[in-house]
């Protein structure tokens, strides 16, 4: 890796709608994230934190400014190239889990490897390993309907990390879970950051969850209001 940061945002804007109905979700965000960091993005509803997350995850495109990922200007690349970036470098965990219904945990976790063209043997091996890492050994053949919320989120995390991503993007990963399950999930994410060195970007509105992060970025009304390392004085 060069000395260039993993992610660099420069005057990033995002607007929805046109003309008078235009809503400016991001009003010029500058942000730099280094490899290995664990960043919590906080902010009230409608502040633009999810919008920023979606743009960082190449799920959405900015309307202005620049987004460099590993030195590549994302605003200039094609739809297919963004898909390939997601395939090779990014892993997603959503608030609503977003697992394929009526599909076993193993097959859900295998999915990213199928798109990466891995052989059946490699897929099985890595999917089982990922499920074991999130503590779901023995649950491989269960479908989402047969799993609790916490277990479903673990499957989603296994799916996100099975392809060894550079970044794990988590959008309110504990939003649908109770307190103790939330803590377990946060421990898991923290361990992935610490032990495997996966950069974690997490959107949350709960201060308790943000405490697990190394760095907290607050967004209010489409601009960064504060950016501090946990443990530093406010």
């Amino acid at each position: 890796m060069s000395t260039a940061p993993l992610i660099r945002l420069n005057a990033l804007t995002k607007a929805y709608g046109r003309g008078q109905a235009t809503f400016q979700a991001l009003k010029g965000v500058d942000l730099t994230i280094d490899s290995g960091d664990f960043v919590a993005i906080m902010g009230p509803s409608g502040s633009g934190k999810s919008t920023m997350m979606n743009i960082l995850g190449c799920l959405d495109t900015p309307t202005g400014g620049s987004y460099e990922f590993r030195g590549v200007h994302i605003e200039d690349v094609s739809r297919n190239q963004r898909a390939l970036l997601r395939r090779h470098y990014l892993g997603f965990v959503f608030q609503g889990f977003n697992l394929l219904a009526r599909t076993t945990a193993l097959e859900n976790v295998e999915l990213p490897l199928i798109y990466r063209g891995e052989s059946a043997v490699v897929r099985q091996q890595r999917a089982r390993a990922a499920l074991a890492q999130v503590g779901l050994k023995g649950w491989e053949d269960h479908t989402p309907g047969e799993l609790s919320g916490g277990q479903q989120q673990r499957v989603a995390i296994a799916r996100a990390i099975v392809s060894d991503p550079e970044i794990l993007l988590a959008d309110e990963p504990t939003g649908n879970l109770d307190t103790s399950t939330s803590a377990e999930i946060m421990e898991l994410i923290t361990n992935l950051n610490r032990e495997r060195g996966i950069t974690v970007l997490m959107v949350t509105h709960e201060p308790e969850m943000a405490e697990y992060a190394k760095r907290v970025v607050r967004i209010v009304d489409g601009v960064i209001a504060s950016d501090q390392r946990n443990g530093e004085a406010a």
Partner: protein, 400 residues
């Protein structure tokens, strides 16, 4: 990429068994209905032309009037002398059977049966492809004197005599008794559903004297010596009849000479129209099946849009998602099409057996129905997916 996508498609089909089943069912019903209807229609057409050729292929029928069907439309009837003229003057006329007919009730002991009595000569049997199962045909003296003797069809025998042999028995027709001298080999139903074995044949003179009470004959059946001579025989008969009936140069014929091919054409064109009608009815069921598929696909669009969002988010390319949905649609509609083909073949075989018509495999309609079903499956399975796959991944994920 293809094999991986195939794997994904098969997993998606397995995952949504009910949806897959309903899709397949819609196609199965449509395909099976269309193919069965058309196959049965073709069988009926074939059966009609077979029956006509069983009449004998070199047959000409001479009848008064210009209209096809019974009744002479005011034109004078033929007489026996006309038939004799054809027999004597036209070399290639092999058999000449002047015929008249009348409905009558035949009675034997306590049994009676309503049938049709034909009056003709011995040429009537070979010309109509009739064989004697028992007994003999008419002798010359019986024909000349108009003796009350008859040859009966199998249906008449069955209804009057049950299991007994009829030969030598006396049956009563109207006011006279008639000796049964022969029994015809059974032919079964004609193409039009008419029982050909339901008849009694007597010498022409007998019927003229005792039943119709006139010298008229309603038609003359002529058999040409071979296929090549049909048209020359037909022309000669026309000339001869115009002469005998004193028809002037500029006048139209007041009689008609039909060959069996003409009759066959008329009948097969009728059954062909019926086939088309049946096919149209069946096409409606294919369409209804298609609408069923469309419904299922549209209902599942929400779930599938989110599925597409998930796939895009974890790095699937748009074309991979599309290929998956395309394979899914093709696999489902092919399975439906194949089951439909099998079902149609089975149903056609069984029904044509029951309806007593031949089974004819028509590759054209099989292919057409199959392709149409595949098209329906692909259109309704693929196009909603194409719209979803074109969305931003995040919009697809958030689709409610």
């Amino acid at each position: 990429m293809f094999w991986n996508t195939l794997l994904l498609s098969i997993r998606a089909i397995r995952r949504n068994l009910m949806r897959s089943f309903l899709t397949i069912l819609g196609i199965v019903i449509g395909v099976a209905a269309v193919i069965t209807m058309v196959t049965l229609g073709n069988g009926a057409t074939k059966s009609v032309s077979d029956q006509i050729s069983s009449m004998g292929s070199n047959i000409l029928i001479v009848a008064p009037g210009q209209r096809f069907g019974p009744g002479s439309g005011g034109a004078p009837s033929f007489k026996l002398a006309d038939a004799e003229a054809i027999e004597n003057q036209i070399y290639n006329a092999k058999w000449v059977a002047p015929t008249t007919s009348k409905s009558a009730t035949a009675v034997y002991q306590a049994n009676n049966w309503s049938t049709v009595v034909y009056g003709s000569n011995n040429d009537y049997f070979p010309a109509g492809n009739w064989e004697l199962a028992d007994g003999r045909d008419f002798s010359d003296s019986e024909q000349r004197s108009g003796k009350a003797v008859c040859v009966i069809g199998e249906t008449v025998r069955e209804n009057l005599f049950g299991t007994a042999s009829p030969i030598g028995s006396q049956i009563r027709i109207k006011q006279f008794s008639c000796e049964v001298i022969g029994l015809l080999e059974a032919k079964g139903q004609s193409a039009m559903g008419h029982d050909q074995d339901d008849m009694v044949v007597m010498p022409l003179r007998t019927v003229q004297r005792r039943l119709t009470g006139s010298q008229d004959i309603s038609r003359i059946t002529v058999s040409a010596r071979d296929t090549n001579s049909i048209s020359s025989v037909k022309k000669k008969i026309e000339l001869l009849m115009r002469e005998r009936r004193n028809i002037g140069e500029n006048e139209d014929d007041d009689f008609r000479v039909m060959d069996t091919r003409q009759i066959a054409d008329t009948l097969t064109s009728t059954t062909r129209i019926l086939t088309l009608l049946l096919g149209a009815v069946a096409a409606v069921s294919l369409l209804v099946g298609g609408i069923g598929i469309m419904n299922i696909m549209l209902v599942s669009v929400t779930e599938r849009t989110r599925e597409i969002g998930i796939r895009l988010a974890i790095g699937a390319l748009e074309r991979e998602v599309l290929l998956q949905f395309l394979i899914e649609a093709v696999v489902l509609s092919s399975i439906g099409g194949i089951i439909g083909l099998i079902l149609a073949t089975t149903a056609s075989l069984v029904l044509s057996g029951i309806m007593n018509i031949p089974y004819i495999f028509d590759p054209g309609i099989n292919l057409l129905a199959f392709l149409f079903s595949a098209a329906i499956g692909v259109i309704f399975g693929f196009f909603p997916a194409r719209r979803a796959a074109g969305l931003n991944p995040i919009d697809a994920l958030r689709h409610e």
